[in-house]
């Protein structure tokens, strides 16, 4: 086989493994959501389909496919049909640059375990991830329902306010690692003492809060606020179109978790084993992402929803100033007192 052909084959295999794995994880997360919520409320959750209800996502999928996909009479038909793809597409596209593992060697071929290694990976994620809100807005607008429209509008307002703090929080990490390439950022965190969470905890907290808002998850899920908006932007959606919105949301959760892991928690580096085998690296990444996904679910079933004005207050009056000041301090330290980092490094590694 010529090297070019081999490259294409490897690439196709990687796309399939990562994309299908992603959708699979999203499906499993829907089951996990129901199970975790049930356990927190002294219930069993789904138990009927398969052992302990493990095949529930499969049953849900079959049901979604066979249900009738309604289009309301007054709706803008083409926009209405297009919106779910617009919501799910960007979330799935962002998976492309996430470094799931180190260099993989299989059948004598060595390749980095991510679909592409963009040197502006973070920028790509922010740019494409920001597009997913259009799906929500278009879906809300095209439904021709007052609830959906309000949901869409809220989603857009929320995205704009939290995207800023999120980008500033990520910029702080980019500033200390000096790269927008996710794999490069991960490579700089080989040991536990080098994890960025030890250097940028405030940025992590800001990112975490913003990530909840960006993925439309509790306590910031105003776009689909059930008591006021009857599920908001997807009130009028049914069957597979509705499922695509849900898939987009869960994929976005996985991407956000992956970004958090890659930027702050050493990505695929295994604690205490800097030279671990690549399988361990992938497992470590999956384990870390699983923890984050659980955290998403955990928060959802603990906190009540904010009020919309509180959400805006938090975004503009608290998160944005803190993020700006934090970025400023980070920049100042890097420019004028770079020895502080090595001092802190010594402290952290001496303690651990």
């Amino acid at each position: 086989m010529s090297p070019e052909l081999l490259e294409i084959v490897v690439w196709i295999v990687k796309v399939h493994v990562i994309f299908l794995g992603m959708v699979g994880v999203a499906a499993i997360t829907t089951l996990a959501e129901r199970k975790v919520s049930a356990w927190m409320q002294y219930r069993h959750g789904p138990t009927r389909v398969g052992p302990q209800g493990l095949l529930q996502p499969l049953a849900d999928g079959v049901k979604f496919i066979f249900k009738e996909s309604l289009v309301p009479d007054g709706a803008n038909k083409w926009m209405f049909r297009f919106a779910p793809a617009l919501a799910a597409g960007p979330a799935m596209l962002t998976v492309a640059v996430i470094p799931f593992g180190p260099d993989v060697t299989l059948f004598g071929v060595t390749t980095p375990f991510s679909i592409v290694d963009l040197d502006i990976g973070l920028m790509y994620i922010l740019a494409i991830g920001g597009l997913s809100v259009y799906g929500v807005i278009v879906g809300g607008w095209a439904s021709n329902s007052k609830y959906s429209l309000l949901g869409g509008l809220r989603a857009s307002a929320q995205m704009v306010s939290y995207e800023l703090s999120m980008i500033l929080a990520i910029l702080s990490v980019v500033a200390i690692s000096g790269s927008l390439d996710l794999r490069e950022v991960v490579m700089q965190q080989k040991t536990l003492g080098e994890w960025n969470i030890l250097y940028q905890p405030v940025a992590f907290l800001l990112f975490l809060i913003a990530a909840f808002a960006e993925t439309n998850r509790h306590p910031f899920d105003f776009a689909e606020c059930e008591p006021e908006l009857v599920s908001g932007f997807h009130t009028e959606y049914s069957a597979m179109r509705f499922a695509l919105f849900a898939l987009g949301e869960y994929c976005a959760m996985v991407v956000m978790s992956s970004v958090a892991v890659a930027l702050w928690f050493g990505g695929f580096s295994v604690p205490f084993m800097p030279e671990a085998h690549w399988t361990l690296g992938i497992l470590a990444f999956c384990a870390k992402v699983t923890c984050f996904l659980f955290f998403f679910l955990w928060v959802r079933w603990t906190l009540p929803r904010f009020r919309f004005d509180q959400l805006m207050n938090l975004g503009w009056k608290v998160m944005l100033p803190i993020a700006l000041v934090h970025l400023f301090i980070t920049g100042a330290v890097i420019s004028f007192a770079p020895q502080l980092k090595s001092l802190w490094n010594g402290l952290v590694n001496g303690a651990s």
């Binding site: 049930a38 927190m40 409320q41 002294y42 219930r43 138990t47 907290l205 603990t302 906190l303």
Partner: protein, 173 residues
């Protein structure tokens, strides 16, 4: 008039994060507690002899039912659920039902038939589940109503106890 003043939030509470952590710790602890949901068809409801389920006819130890088709339960039934057609028999009691039907869709599980029966032939069982594919299948005939005495023994004893207490209290008043 009552003036309710909002409690001033402390700095700790206004920071959100410590309180959020507290909430998260509570839900995390609940994660490992045993669910209280009853998995109904697999884990049946707890029943005892006080439960008034569907009425059933007692089959005595000799294999016959005690019913003499007197029609007392038919008259007592407020829902007109019972239909009896009597006939003769060679046994010493001389009469027995040729047809004894209870329309389970009409039965309101009141237990009047049990109270009315002079021959201790009908008792309320602990059977509560009622489901079938047609209305006709839910009109129970003799064969569907028969239950061995051992299956209803607890209820029979309970009814006797209840009646004895009632007699005592009415005689003293």
């Amino acid at each position: 008039m009552v003036i309710v003043r909002r409690k001033e939030l402390s700095l700790r509470e206004r920071l959100y994060l410590p309180e959020i952590a507290r909430g998260l710790s509570i839900t995390f602890r609940k994660l490992f507690e045993k669910p209280i949901t009853r998995q109904y068809p697999e884990e049946p409801l707890p029943k005892n002899e006080v439960t008034r389920g569907q009425p059933r006819l007692v089959v005595k130890d000799d294999g016959n039912i005690a019913c003499v088709s007197c029609g007392m339960c038919e008259i007592a039934c407020p829902a007109y659920a019972i239909t009896i057609d009597g006939g003769e028999t060679d046994r010493p009691i001389e009469r027995e039902p040729k047809k004894f039907e209870i329309d389970m869709l009409r039965c309101i599980l009141c237990g009047f038939c049990e109270e009315a029966c002079p021959k201790d032939a009908i008792f309320m069982s602990d059977e509560l589940e009622l489901a079938d594919y047609s209305r006709a299948a839910l009109i129970y005939d003799l064969e569907k109503l028969k239950r061995p005495k051992s299956a209803l023994q607890k209820r029979i004893d309970y009814v006797y106890r209840l009646n004895n207490r009632w007699r005592k209290s009415s005689s003293t008043s």
